[in-house]
Amino acid sequence: MSSFGFGLITAAVLAIATVGFTMQFAVTNVLNLAYGSVMINSAFVSYYLNVHGMTAWASLVGGVVTGAVVSWALNRFIFTPFQRRSLAPITVVIVALGVDLVGTFGLQAIVGGNYVSFHQSPGREFHFLGMILSGLQLVILAICVVVLGLVHWVLKYTRLGKAMRATSANPNLARNSGVKVQRVISTTWLISGALCGLAGTVLTMNTGVFEATSAQLYIVLLLAAMFLGGPGEPYGAMFGALTIGLATEISAAYINPQYKEVFAFLALLGMLTFRPYGIFGSEKTN
């Protein structure tokens, strides 16, 4: 049962990250493979604020802002110009891989290769329903639930959410219907970037120690969660993250911790092969 508790934390953090990732894909059709590097850069900004005297929770804001600003700038100054010029989506994906290298190893060149950790005690342990969670983990869980609730509210009940869904379904039609598509895309990248920064920071808080390349393979979990729920579907992403998060931790407990990511890999390859538009999704027109 304790692995269920770990799985819940993993899933909650993964859900935040995947929702951001899938929103970027939804409005701009970009598989932003540089997402992991933005996460870890945000985490390091939080870490340095924390080391220089801020409480971990206050420094979290720094990570969120970093994620938002960096993601917005990436889209505005790199992905959008490339998309305007090139027709092949693969070019932008290759560019994203290049950005990932620059982001991850640029950070490593600056901060060095050492492991660091937040100055933050995990808090006392709580036992309930057979799960053991630290105070820190409970706060992380609470933050994730609140943020996912906010995302749901924005998507469902605001004009912005409606505009996002319209842009994702068909940008040209949305533009012709009076949606300011460019502004919607920019806002989406700000919001998704904030989720990216938040996910990166709470992920590193939860794992304890981390270094510049710690998030490099996180993209696999993200992709698995996104494709499970259908690319570009925020609610699908939440479902996918819950499945992948619980499955990895539970399989780690009962099979072999070394292979805990294997389930995610196989889920992703299976989805790409048999249902690339998600368990609930169907092929888009055109």
């Binding site: 598989l31 891989l97 290298l101 294997v262 890999f265 390859l269 027109t285």
Partner: protein, 616 residues
């Protein structure tokens, strides 16, 4: 002195290995358009295979300090041959990913993830290939009677590597400079259109991955025989990105560019950093190398996406390379061609029967293509509902209807571009509902597209020739038999295409990239290309959209002539004057249903049709 000589041999071997790998990846990415983000696992599979085939049984070797499978102690060249075979076989499981339905970037991500997964598995499961520590003390070929540390041996090894690299270069050239290579590049430029012209995408991609995987496997074998160790650290997924950087830098779609990229990026980075002074922070230099590779990718894709040595434009027309400057400068906006361009060539003199191999069919107006209850649903919305139509041989049938009536969707289902949700399609008496689109095309059911669909980086002439069916050089083995096998036939095909080009008055653009033409010219290229695919039934999706009205009527005349010569045409069109002038019968679709059919005169008399469409 001796140290430098040894250093030189190291560079030669590494250079040859990198050049081979880059050429192989370039054939996959630069020619066939497969973004193989997992390329490094093919090289690695070759290295491991060569290692375990040449090593003795694990239990007996070196006191059994490493674990691995096989251990057959095979003599050279068997381990290298085995490496190439395993590299090729490894491609087969990925056929599912690169099949025709999956987006290129999704397939690329699948390959990337596969590379990461295999690395994790090999690293964590020690009995397979000795896990994270990797396999070491791999015997060098002939080491029992020739000391691998001897300078002569090292130069001989480098020489063999270079010779093999040269052989690979000519092998790839033979492949890509053939009609088959043309089909690969057509698939790269637009896979859905290549499919609609009868190209078997899955087979083409599988062949490319197998061939690329074999060369990658061989390159791994050469490397492991030289450095005598191989471990998961050497083949992280990011190594593939280095090779991509090399190809982007050198020039995708150009074999020499791939070799140049191999020398500049993987080899260059490795060697230059060797001469840097030591720094305190051990991660700094490798980190900056990765940053540089990332920046190179981004900057080159922005400032010089074609690379240092761009892809060569293939001049097929036989016209002197100098003199006639065939490249269209600025594309002319659609519908605004000057009068000079509107004047078609000697179209009326073209003998369609002979040129398009229509044979001596006499028009009998039997039903060649029909549907029963054809239906298409997207996300629960029914776009085409219970459509039953008949297309008769030798007729120019029109398909009209307001926006969103389901015309293009119907056409796409007829051609197999979209699967139907329910209902059946019959072609020449056969139920073809489940037949893949490329097979429909090879059986004579060929479509064009509403949106521009030329192969951009193929010349106009190449666009046309690529569509001609049954070319003897348009298969892997056909290409391998060389120009002597397919050259004469290709020349005839080029002449046929030139004749059609002349008919449409576009001879001067024969060797220009199709992507640089004006909108109207591109439509003509598409129509000519579809004609050269030798269709029995031609499905045209708004062929006159964006074409000057005068030109549109001339095309209409020729379509009528085509039908007289024995072809059958089904044409989706918006322009009613075209329908009035050329189409009989005309089918009206509205809201996914067949509203009426008959001659235009009959339809104009039908109040329902007038209300639904003609007035609005």
């Amino acid at each position: 002195m001796n140290a430098w000589a040894f250093y030189l041999t190291t560079i030669i071997v590494y250079g040859a290995v990198d050049a081979m790998a880059c050429m192989a990846l370039n054939v996959e990415f630069g020619f066939a358009g497969i973004s193989n983000f997992g390329f490094i696992i093919f090289q690695s599979a070759g290295a491991y295979t060569a290692a375990v085939l040449s090593m003795p049984r694990a239990a007996t070797s070196n006191g059994g300090f490493q674990q691995y499978v096989l251990g057959w102690s095979l003599p050279w060249p068997l381990p290298w041959i085995g490496a190439a075979l395993v590299g090729g076989l490894l491609a087969l499981p990925f056929v599912f990913l690169v099949g025709k339905r999956l987006r290129g970037d999704f397939a690329a991500v699948g390959l990337l993830v596969s590379a990461v997964l295999l690395n994790v598995l090999v690293k964590d499961y020690v009995p397979f290939l000795n896990g994270d520590a990797g396999i070491s003390i791999v015997p060098a070929p002939f080491q029992s009677f020739w000391d691998p540390q001897a300078l002569g041996y090292q130069f001989a090894y480098g020489g063999v590597a270079v010779v093999l690299t040269i052989i690979v270069y000519f092998f790839f050239r033979r492949l890509t400079e053939s009609p088959y290579g043309r089909s690969l590049r057509a698939m790269r430029d637009n896979d859905i259109v290549a499919d609609s012209l009868g190209k078997n995408l899955r087979l083409q991609r599988t062949t490319t991955l197998v061939v690329g995987g074999m060369v990658a496997g061989l390159s791994g074998a050469i490397l492991v025989g030289f450095i005598s160790l191989w471990a998961p650290g050497a083949w992280g997924y990011a190594e593939t990105i280095v090779l991509f950087a090399a190809i982007i830098l050198g020039g995708a779609g150009n074999h020499k560019g791939a070799v140049l990229g191999a020398i500049l990026v993987p080899l260059g980075f490795e060697e230059v950093t060797r001469f840097l002074p030591p720094v305190a922070n051990p991660t700094l230099v490798p980190a900056l190398e990765w940053v540089a590779i990332g920046l190179l990718i981004i900057l080159f894709l922005w400032f010089r996406p074609e690379g240092i040595l761009p892809e060569r434009r293939r001049i097929l027309s036989g016209a002197p390379a100098k003199g006639a400057a065939p490249v269209a400068s600025a594309p002319v906006p659609a519908g605004q061609e000057t009068d000079a361009l509107i004047k078609l060539g000697n179209l009326d003199e073209l003998n369609f029967r002979q040129l398009l191999r229509l044979g001596d069919t006499t028009n009998d107006h039997r039903v060649v293509l029909s549907t029963q209850g054809l239906t298409k649903t997207f996300h629960g919305v029914t776009v085409v509902s219970d459509v039953s139509i008949e297309v008769r041989q030798g007729r120019l049938t029109g398909l009209i209807g307001p926006n969103g009536a389901g015309k293009s969707t119907t056409l796409a289902m007829l051609a197999g571009t979209l699967p139907s949700s329910s209902g059946s399609i019959f072609y020449e008496g056969r139920d073809i509902t489940a037949m893949p689109s490329n097979e429909r095309a090879t059986n004579g059911l060929v479509r064009t597209f509403q949106l521009a669909s030329e192969f951009k980086k193929l010349t106009v002439l190449e666009n046309l020739v690529s569509a001609i069916p049954d070319q003897s050089g348009d298969s892997f083995w056909g290409a391998m038999r060389g120009r002597r096998h397919w050259g004469r036939e290709d020349k005839e095909n080029i002449e046929r295409a030139m004749e059609v080009l002349g008919g449409f008055g576009l001879t001067q653009y024969a060797d220009a990239y199709a992507g640089g033409l004006s909108g109207g010219q591109r439509r003509l290229v598409e129509i000519m290309r579809a004609m050269l695919a030798e269709p029995k039934v031609l499905l045209l999706d708004e062929p006159m959209a964006g074409v000057h009205p005068n030109l549109a009527h001339k095309i209409g005349d020729q379509l009528t002539r085509l039908c007289e010569a024995g072809m059958t045409v089904l044409m989706v069109e918006h322009e009613l004057s075209i329908m009035d002038a050329f189409c009989d019968p005309v089918i009206v679709l509205a809201e996914g249903k067949v509203l009426a059919q008959g001659t235009m005169a009959e339809l104009r008399a039908n109040s329902e049709v007038v209300e639904a469409y003609l007035v609005g």
